[in-house]
């Protein structure tokens, strides 16, 4: 069993109105030290798989096929013991 963590964020040039709204709210609450705020999603999967490299590959495929809207989002996959891969 391998635990996979996928974090998904907007691409750099894509507007993130939610991040903007949260930043404004934090400022109103007095947190003036807050700069940029970006929001994203995360998905945690368990995979019935023993090989981390293969798990990584499969997770990447799932991201491309279903989990991530690659037109506007990017993702990172982490195998829960710490390995990482960027896309």
């Amino acid at each position: 069993m391998i635990n996979v963590l996928i974090t998904i964020q907007f691409k750099e040039d894509v507007l993130d109105p939610e991040g903007k709204a949260i930043a404004a709210s934090l400022h109103n609450l007095g947190y003036s030290e807050v700069g940029a705020v970006m929001t994203g999603r995360l998905i945690r999967l368990t995979l019935d798989e023993s090989d981390t490299a293969r798990a990584m590959q499969k997770a990447a495929k799932m991201c491309e096929v279903l989990l991530v809207n690659t037109i506007i989002e990017t993702y990172d996959i982490t195998i829960e013991d710490g390995e990482e891969n960027s896309a």
């Binding site: 109105p17 939610e18 709204a21 949260i22 709210s25 109103n28 609450l29």
Partner: protein, 234 residues
């Protein structure tokens, strides 16, 4: 007649609707209060209308619940004032912890706008005092996050103290082919009141079914609002 005010946040969009609706019952237009103004002291009933306050970013009602005017509303409640939150207003009330529990995303993962039938529960005091037990009302819901959740302990307390104000009941549509519960709310909860009965949150929109032109044909929303207004100033 009680003095009624409606709070408008950026993104509120049922403010005009509830003002018009209440005025058609009481003959007096409730005051509209912009969230940046904080003088609400002279009103008996404060209504938090539906809509998408602050875009519903983060979570429905979350940002509005932290606006300074909510401190005033808290004071108003401590002073024994009444509060009604409809839809987004209900979300604001749970987010600000004036009501227990949380409104989560609909189990269908989609926005849902359709008629529901709700059953009211009577309480001896507070906003539910003019309702008869089991009195039913038909009106629309329209929301993304109406799936009421409370942990077991909270739920038991709500049941115990008679705080469950409205529950979804009976399928609707031609041959009742549409589920009663539109969003997966626990125990079919459509609305709850605070322990003292003075703060009420509900997902359905009474202001959308109170005029002869409204599609449902009935005017159940009018009766529901009348009951609430009567409770505030019998």
């Amino acid at each position: 007649m009680p003095s009624i005010a409606v709070i408008r946040f950026p993104g509120s969009n049922c403010d005009r609707d509830i003002i018009t609706g209440v005025a058609s019952i009481t003959g007096t237009k409730p005051s509209a209060i912009w969230y940046k103004d904080t003088d609400i002291a002279r009103h008996d009933l404060i209504i938090l209308p539906g809509g998408f306050s602050f875009g519903d970013y983060l979570r429905g009602g979350a940002i509005a619940a932290r606006a300074p005017i909510m401190d005033e509303i808290q004071d108003h409640v401590w002073r024994g004032g009444y509060v009604l939150g409809i839809c987004n207003g209900f979300q604001i009330l749970t987010e600000s912890e004036l009501l227990p529990g949380a409104l989560m995303r609909n189990v269908g993962l989609k926005y849902v706008c359709r008629d529901v039938v709700i059953k009211a529960h009577h309480a001896d005091d507070g906003l539910l005092s003019a309702f008869k037990d089991g009195q039913s009302f038909r009106m629309p819901v329209a929301h993304n996050e109406g799936n009421y959740y409370a942990d077991e302990e909270t739920l038991a307390r709500l049941q115990d103290k008679g705080q469950i104000a409205f529950t979804y009941t009976a399928g609707i549509g031609g041959d009742k082919h549409i589920d009663a519960n539109p969003n997966g709310a626990i125990e079919d909860i459509a609305g709850i009141v605070s322990e003292n009965g003075r703060v009420l949150g509900m997902m359905p929109h009474p202001e959308r079914n109170l005029d002869p032109i409204h599609g449902g044909g009935g005017q159940d929303g009018r009766q529901l609002l009348k009951n609430l207004i009567e409770a505030v100033a019998p």
